[in-house]
C-alpha cells in the first residue's frame, strides 16, 4: 500500500486539509504541536477505524471548531488506486470505498478485506516506530515475537488464541501451582488432611495391641485371684463345718451318756396287744355291768299290779272268750242294723199309710183280688182315655221301679245286706213318688172323674169290704200297690223284729259269761255295744300284758346268754393280759405303759444320736475338736469371711476392668471408620488422577497448539530474526553482529561479547527496536506492504548511527513506503532528497 493523498475534513486541529504523500519516502517536518501526530493518527484511523472514547488514550481528535469528523485517504495497492472515506459513525465510522482506477463503488467489506488481517494494534507493532517502551521491551522474549508473527501468519489465529485462552482458563480452574481454591489444589489439600487423619488413626493399632496385652494380664490376675479365693473359701468352709460340728458333738455326748447299757427291746406289737386287751377288758366289764343293770331293770318291770295279776290268772278264760268277741260284735251290729231297719220300715209304713188314712179311713185298706182289679180296670177304661200316657208312664215307671226293688232284695239276701237297703230305698222311693203323683193328679183327675161320681154296686161293695170306699175309684188299682207295699213292709218288720230279739239273746248269753270279771268290767248301765267294747278292752289289755311278759322273758334270756359269753371272753382276755404282764415282768398295765414310754424315749434318743452322728460325718471334719474351742473357731470364721469378701470385690473389680477392656477392644475391631478414611483417600486419589489427567490433557493441548502454530509460522520467525540482526548490524555500523531471541533478547557485539538488552544504552536499544520493526515489516511485505511510520525515531541516535539508519531506511523504502515524521530539522535535512512536508509553512510558523 502506498498512501497518495489525505483529505482531512475535521480531525484534531486539522480542518479541511489536503496533504499529498510521496513515495517511497515522505518526510513530515514540523515543530511540537504542529499536528504531526494528528496526521499519523488520522491515517491509522482512516485505515483501521475510529477508536471509541475508551480505546483512544490520546483522545479522539474531535475538531474543536468544526462538526465534520474524519476524512478521505487515497492509496494505491497492486496497481489500483482506491479512495476510502471514513466519517463519524458507529463501529469505527461510516466508510465509503471506491476503486478510482476502475471507477467502481466498493463496499466497506471490500475495504476490510484489503486491509485484513492488519489492525491498529498489529500495525503499531509491526509498522510503527514511535520510540520504545523500555520496560515492555526488556520483557520481550521469543514468545512475544512469535505472537506478533503468528497473529498474522495463521488462519483463524484469533480463534486459536481464544482457544488457548480458554484452555488456560480451564486448566487454571483445575490447578494452579500456588493456588488453594482450584479443584485439584483443594483435592490435594483434602488428600493431605486425610493422610493426617489416617496417621492419627494409626494410634488405634498400638492401642489395640496394648489392650490385648492388658486383657491377658488382667485375665491372669483374675485367675490367680480366683484360685486364692477358692483356697480361702475352702478353709472358710472347714471352719464353718467345725463351728457347726461343735453343738452336734456336745449333744452326742449328752445323749450317749443318757443311753443305758441295755436297751429295752420290746416288740411294739406286744404293747399294742396289751393295750387292746386292756381296753377290751374294760369294755367287756362295762358291758357286763350294763347287762346286769338291764336285767335288774327288767326284773323291776316284771312286777304286776292287781289287774294285771288278775288277767294273768284268768288268762286262758279270757282268751277263750276273747276269741268270740268278733262274732259278738257282728251280732251287735246286726242288732243295730235291724233296729234301724225296723225303724225305717216303720217310718215307711207310717209314711205310706198316712196318706191312705187321710181319707178318713180308719184302717189300711185290704187288697183287691185280681178279679176285682180287672173289674175296676174295665170300669176305668170306659171312663178315661185322656191321659193314657201319664198313666202308662206312671205305671211303666212304677213297674220298672218294682222290678229293680225285687232284684235288689233278692240279691241282697244272697250277698250284701246293703243291697237290701238299696232295694228298700228304691221301694221307698217308688212309694213316695206314687204318693206324690197321687196328690197332684188327684186335683186334675178328680175334675175328670168328678163327672162320673156314680159307681156300680159291686164296686161299692168291694169298697166297703176292703175299706177302699174312701178312695176315688181310679185310685183303687193304683192304691193296691201301695197297700201291698205296706203289707210287705209290715211283714219285713216282723221278721226283723224276730231276728233282732234272737240276736239280742245271744248277746246276752255271751255277756253273762263275763261276770267273773265284773270287778274290772261291768257297768250295767252300758248297752251291749259298750259292754262289748269294754270286754274288748279287757281282752286287749290281757293280750298286751301277755305279750309283754313274754318279751321280757325273752330279753332276760338273751341277756343272760350275753353275760355268759362276756364272761367267757373276759376270762380269756384276762388270762392273755396277765400272760403278757408276766412275760414282761410287770404287775400292771400301767407299768407296762411306763415301759413302753421308756422304750420310746430310748428309741428317740437313739435315732437322734444316729442323725447327729450322720450330720457330723457329713461335715467331714479333718481335725478332732475340742468342744470348748467354739470361740476360737468363730473368730477364725469371721476373719476368713472378711478376707473372702475382700477377694470377691477384687475379683469383681478385675471382671469389670476385663469387660471394659474387652468392650473397647471389640469397638476398635468393629470400627469401620479407619477403613472409611483409607477408602476415601483412595477414592480421592482416583479423582485427583482423573482431574490431573484432564489437566494434563489441557496442558498438552496447549503445547500442541502452540507448537503447531509455531510450525505454521516457522518460515517467518527465523527470517525475522535474521533480518533483525542484519539491520541492527547496519544501524550500529557493524558494532553489533547478532541479535538472539530466547526468553529474553540478547545482542552479540563484534567482539563476540553478549549483552542483555538491559545493558544497552537508550539509543542502542531504540536502534534494536527499530531494526526489529523494520525486520518485521519487511518480513510481511510479501503479503502486506503497509507504509512504515517512523515517528521521531532517531532522536537518541548519534550522528553516525543516524546516518547509518537513514541509509537503512532508504534501503527498506524499496519495499515499503516510509513516512518519516520529525521535529528535528537536522534529521529532516538528512532526507534532503526526499519529499518533505513542512508544516511550519502551513502554519506560517518557522521554528529554527
Amino acid at each position: 500500500m502506498i498512501i497518495k493523498t489525505i483529505d482531512i475534513y475535521g480531525y484534531g486541529k486539522w480542518v479541511d486539509q489536503q496533504i499529498e504523500f510521496s513515495a517511497p519516502i515522505q518526510v513530515i517536518y514540523g515543530p511540537n504541536e504542529a499536528g504531526k501526530s494528528t496526521i499519523i493518527d488520522f491515517i491509522t484511523s482512516i485505515l483501521f477505524g475510529f477508536q471509541t472514547k475508551r480505546q483512544a488514550i490520546h483522545g479522539q481528535y474531535q475538531p474543536k471548531h468544526s462538526h465534520a469528523y474524519g476524512g478521505e485517504l487515497v492509496f494505491e495497492q497492486d496497481g489500483i488506486t482506491y479512495k476510502v472515506i471514513r466519517t463519524a459513525g458507529s463501529h469505527g465510522g461510516n466508510v465509503k470505498f471506491t476503486n478510482l482506477t476502475d471507477e467502481i463503488e466498493l463496499t466497506k467489506a471490500d475495504f476490510d478485506q484489503i486491509i485484513a488481517p492488519m489492525n491498529r494494534e498489529l500495525y503499531s507493532e509491526l509498522f510503527y516506530f514511535g520510540g520504545v517502551d523500555q520496560t515492555a521491551f526488556y520483557k520481550m522474549g521469543l514468545d512475544d515475537l512469535r505472537w506478533r508473527i503468528q497473529k498474522i501468519g495463521i488462519n483463524n489465529a484469533e480463534s486459536w488464541f481464544a482457544l488457548q485462552k480458554q484452555i488456560d482458563k480451564q486448566a487454571a480452574e483445575l490447578y494452579a501451582p500456588r493456588g488453594r481454591k482450584r479443584v485439584i489444589n483443594q483435592q490435594l489439600k483434602q488428600h493431605d488432611d486425610l493422610v493426617e487423619k489416617i496417621q492419627a488413626a494409626h494410634q488405634q493399632f498400638p492401642e489395640y495391641q496394648e489392650l490385648t496385652k492388658q486383657l491377658a494380664v488382667l485375665k491372669q490376675q483374675r485367675l490367680q485371684a480366683n484360685q486364692q479365693l477358692a483356697d480361702q473359701q475352702k478353709t472358710l468352709q472347714q471352719k464353718q463345718q467345725q463351728s457347726r460340728a461343735l453343738p452336734l458333738i456336745k449333744e452326742i455326748d449328752q445323749l450317749q451318756q443318757k443311753t443305758p447299757a441295755q436297751l429295752i427291746d420290746i416288740n411294739d406289737h406286744t404293747f399294742e396287744l396289751a393295750r387292746q386287751l386292756n381296753t377290751q377288758l374294760d369294755s367287756l366289764t362295762q358291758q357286763t355291768a350294763q347287762n346286769q343293770a338291764q336285767v335288774d331293770q327288767i326284773h323291776a318291770t316284771i312286777k304286776l299290779d292287781d289287774q294285771q295279776q288278775f288277767l294273768i290268772d284268768h288268762q286262758q278264760q279270757i282268751e277263750e272268750l276273747g276269741n268270740q268277741l268278733n262274732r259278738q260284735f257282728e251280732l251287735c251290729s246286726q242288732v243295730e242294723l235291724l233296729e234301724q231297719q225296723i225303724k225305717r220300715n216303720q217310718q215307711q209304713i207310717d209314711k205310706l199309710t198316712q196318706p191312705l188314712l187321710d181319707n178318713g179311713a180308719s184302717r189300711l185298706p185290704d187288697l183287691l183280688t185280681d178279679t176285682e182289679i180287672s173289674q175296676v180296670n174295665q170300669f176305668l177304661q170306659l171312663t178315661s182315655a185322656r191321659s193314657p200316657k201319664k198313666v202308662k208312664a206312671n205305671s211303666a215307671g212304677v213297674i220298672i221301679g218294682w222290678v229293680m226293688a225285687m232284684v235288689m232284695l233278692i240279691l241282697g239276701l244272697f250277698t250284701n245286706r246293703v243291697l237290701i237297703i238299696i232295694g228298700v230305698s228304691i221301694v221307698g222311693g217308688i212309694v213316695g213318688y206314687q204318693w206324690y203323683q197321687k196328690k197332684q193328679p188327684i186335683s186334675n183327675d178328680s175334675v175328670e172323674t168328678g163327672a162320673d161320681n156314680e159307681l156300680p154296686k159291686y164296686l161299692i161293695a168291694i169298697g166297703k169290704r176292703t175299706g177302699l170306699d174312701n178312695f176315688p175309684i181310679d185310685q183303687w188299682v193304683s192304691v193296691q200297690g201301695q197297700i201291698r207295699q205296706i203289707n210287705d213292709l209290715n211283714n219285713n218288720l216282723d221278721i226283723d223284729a224276730n231276728q233282732q230279739s234272737n240276736l239280742k239273746k245271744q248277746l246276752h248269753d255271751y255277756l253273762v259269761q263275763w261276770h267273773f270279771a265284773d270287778h274290772w268290767l261291768f257297768n250295767p248301765n252300758l248297752d251291749n255295744r259298750q259292754q262289748l267294747e269294754n270286754v274288748q278292752q279287757l281282752v286287749n289289755t290281757a293280750q298286751q300284758l301277755q305279750k309283754k311278759q313274754q318279751q321280757k322273758k325273752q330279753q332276760l334270756q338273751i341277756i343272760d346268754q350275753l353275760q355268759q359269753t362276756n364272761q367267757q371272753e373276759l376270762n380269756q382276755k384276762q388270762i392273755a393280759l396277765q400272760k403278757i404282764l408276766n412275760d414282761n415282768q410287770v404287775q400292771s398295765i400301767t407299768e407296762l405303759k411306763q415301759l413302753a414310754e421308756e422304750q420310746k424315749q430310748q428309741q428317740q434318743n437313739q435315732s437322734r444320736l444316729n442323725m447327729l452322728q450322720q450330720q457330723l460325718e457329713q461335715l467331714h471334719l479333718t481335725t478332732d475338736l475340742n468342744v470348748n474351742s467354739l470361740t476360737e473357731i468363730n473368730a477364725a470364721t469371721n476373719q476368713l469371711e472378711q478376707e473372702v469378701n475382700q477377694h470377691q470385690s477384687e475379683i469383681n473389680q478385675l471382671s469389670n476392668q476385663i469387660s471394659e477392656a474387652q468392650t473397647r477392644l471389640d469397638m476398635l475391631a468393629k470400627d469401620g471408620s479407619y477403613y472409611d478414611l483409607r477408602q476415601r483417600l483412595n477414592n480421592l486419589q482416583t479423582e485427583i488422577n482423573a482431574n490431573v489427567t484432564r489437566w494434563l490433557g489441557l496442558q498438552f493441548a496447549q503445547k500442541w497448539l502452540e507448537l503447531a502454530m509455531n510450525i505454521a509460522t516457522k518460515g517467518r520467525v527465523p527470517k525475522t530474526l535474521e533480518r533483525t540482526s542484519k539491520y541492527f548490524n547496519i544501524m550500529t555500523n557493524q558494532h553489533y553482529v547478532k541479535v538472539n531471541f530466547e526468553d529474553q533478547i540478547t545482542v552479540v557485539a563484534a567482539d563476540g561479547t553478549s549483552f542483555e538488552i538491559k545493558e544497552l544504552s537508550r539509543g542502542t536499544l531504540e536502534q534494536l527496536y527499530l531494526a526489529l520493526v523494520l525486520a518485521l515489516a519487511v518480513g510481511f511485505s510479501d503479503e502486506m506492504a503497509f507504509p512504515i511510520i517512523i515517528d521521531d525515531g532517531f532522536v537518541n541516535f548519534d550522528v553516525y548511527r543516524t546516518q547509518a539508519s537513514v541509509k537503512l531506511v532508504h534501503e527498506i523504502s524499496k519495499t515499503n513506503q516510509i513516512i518519516f515524521v520529525t521535529a528535528d530539522k537536522r534529521q529532516a535535512e538528512m532526507f534532503s532528497h526526499d519529499a518533505m512536508l513542512n508544516l511550519t509553512s502551513k502554519e506560517e510558523k518557522v521554528n529554527d
Partner: protein, 406 residues
C-alpha cells in the same frame, strides 16, 4: 491329604478406582466387608471340608495400614481353626512383611509362622502321612536375594510342599524386587507342590498345575477381574490335584458398549438396559468401555469431563441392589486422531510427535511430585493414551466448532 492354598487376602484394604461422590453407604459397607467375607468363607470351608491344614502364602494384610479390624479378624479366624485342630501355616509377603518376634503376634497354637530365614515345618496327619513345608517370611518390603537357593532339597517325607511369596522372573514384570525365582529353580527342588503368593491373577506356572498362584481372594480394582477365591488341593494316590473355589463377594468387570443414542440420557439408559439384562447374581463393579466412534462430540465431552459418570452413578444408586451392579468408571476406546482432516492439520501432525514425549509427561507432573500416586497412575501407556486422546479431543472439538477459515 487335603489342604487349602490361599494368598493375598489383603484384609481391610480399600478398593481402587472408586469415587466418593454418589456411592451409597450400604454399598460402601459391602465393599468394606468384602475382603473379610471372602476370607471368612475360606476358613469356613476349611472346617467344613475338614482339611488337614491351610497354607496362607503372604499379603494377608498391609502392615503399614495397621488395621485393627484385620488383626482382630485374623486372630478370630485362626482361633476357629485352632478349636478344631486344623493347623495354619503362614508366610508374610511384601505387604505384611515382619522381622520381629513371632511370639508377639499372639496367634493361637495351631498357627505356625515362618521366620525370615527359610525353614521347614513338619506335620503328621491323622492318616499318618508326614508332610514337610518349607518357606520364609519377608523381613521388609523388598527381598532381593534369591531365597529359592535356601530351600532344602526334597526330604524323606510323604509330601514336601514349598511356600513362596514373590514374582517369577521373565513372566511378571516388576517395579521392585520380590524374592525372584525361576520355574526351573522351583522344579529342581522336587517338591510335590508350590504354594505361591504375590501375583493376584490366579495361574499355574507348570503343566501339572502343582506350581500355583492362588491369586488374591477379592478383586480390588478393575484390573483384578474374574472369579477370586482359593485352591483346594487333594491327593489322589501320589498326585496332587488342585481345584478352584470362588469366595469373593464382589466381582470386577469390563463391559463394552456400542452406543446407539445421541444424548447422554439415551446413553445412560442403554447402559442400564444392557447391564440389567445380564441378570448378575453377584455384585459387579463395572467399567463401561464405549467405542468412541459410536459417540458424538457432546457425549464424548461429557464423558471426558466426568459429568456423565456423575449422572449415571446418581441413577445407579436406586437400582444397584436389585440388579447387582455398580458402574465405577467410563472409558473411551478406539479413539481416532481427527486433526489430520483439518486445514491446519499438517501442522498439528508435525507438532504431535514432539509434544507427547515421556519427558514432557514427567515435566508436567513436576508439581505433583509429592504425591506419588499421581505419577504411579499416569506414567503408563494407558493413562498417557487417555491424555493424548483428551488433548486431541479438545482441539478437534474446537476446530469443528469454528468451522473452516473465513
Amino acid at each position: 491329604m487335603k489342604f487349602i492354598h490361599a494368598a493375598d487376602l489383603h484384609l481391610d484394604s480399600p478398593f481402587l478406582g472408586l469415587r466418593d461422590e454418589a456411592m451409597p453407604e450400604s454399598l460402601e459397607t459391602i465393599i468394606r466387608q468384602s475382603t473379610f467375607e471372602s476370607a471368612k468363607q475360606i476358613f469356613t470351608d476349611a472346617i467344613d471340608q475338614q482339611v488337614d491344614f491351610v497354607l496362607l502364602a503372604g499379603d494377608l494384610f498391609d502392615r503399614n495400614e495397621q488395621s485393627v479390624a484385620a488383626k482382630y479378624f485374623l486372630d478370630q479366624q485362626l482361633q476357629r481353626l485352632n478349636e478344631v485342630n486344623i493347623p495354619v501355616l503362614i508366610i508374610f509377603g511384601n505387604h505384611d512383611y515382619y522381622a520381629g518376634d513371632i511370639e508377639q503376634l499372639g496367634f493361637p497354637a495351631n498357627t505356625f509362622v515362618f521366620g525370615n530365614q527359610v525353614e521347614t515345618h513338619q506335620l503328621t496327619l491323622t492318616s499318618g502321612e508326614t508332610v514337610a513345608i518349607s518357606g520364609f517370611s519377608f523381613a521388609n518390603q523388598w527381598v532381593r536375594e534369591r531365597m529359592i537357593n535356601d530351600y532344602p532339597q526334597r526330604q524323606a517325607v510323604d509330601w514336601h510342599l514349598g511356600m513362596l511369596h514373590g514374582s517369577a522372573e521373565g513372566i511378571h514384570s516388576t517395579e521392585g524386587v520380590y524374592a525372584p525365582f525361576s520355574i526351573t529353580e522351583l522344579q529342581a527342588k522336587n517338591y510335590d507342590y508350590w504354594a505361591l503368593g504375590h501375583i493376584h491373577l490366579r495361574q499355574s506356572l507348570d503343566e501339572e498345575e502343582t506350581i500355583n498362584y492362588a491369586g488374591n481372594t477379592q478383586g480390588r480394582h478393575i484390573n483384578e477381574s474374574g472369579p477370586k477365591g482359593y485352591l483346594l488341593v487333594e491327593s489322589k494316590q501320589h498326585q496332587l490335584q488342585s481345584s478352584f473355589h470362588a469366595t469373593a463377594t464382589i466381582d470386577w468387570q469390563r463391559y463394552l458398549i456400542r452406543a446407539t443414542g445421541v444424548t447422554s440420557t439415551e446413553l445412560i439408559n442403554q447402559i442400564f438396559a444392557e447391564l440389567s439384562e445380564q441378570k448378575f447374581k453377584q455384585l459387579q463393579l463395572i467399567r463401561i468401555e464405549i467405542a468412541a466412534d459410536t459417540l458424538n462430540d457432546e457425549q464424548i465431552a461429557e464423558i471426558n469431563s466426568g459429568q456423565l459418570l456423575t449422572v449415571l452413578q446418581q441413577q445407579n444408586q436406586t437400582i444397584w441392589q436389585q440388579y447387582h451392579f455398580w458402574v465405577t468408571s467410563i472409558k473411551l476406546t478406539e479413539v481416532t486422531n481427527q486433526l489430520n482432516d483439518t486445514i491446519d492439520g499438517r501442522f498439528f501432525t508435525e507438532a504431535e510427535a514432539d509434544i507427547f514425549t515421556e519427558t514432557q509427561y514427567k515435566e508436567l507432573l513436576q508439581p505433583f511430585a509429592k504425591y506419588q500416586f499421581v505419577a504411579a497412575e499416569i506414567l503408563n501407556d494407558d493413562s498417557e493414551q487417555q491424555i493424548h486422546n483428551f488433548a486431541t479431543q479438545t482441539l478437534v472439538t474446537h476446530i469443528k466448532n469454528e468451522g473452516a477459515a473465513d
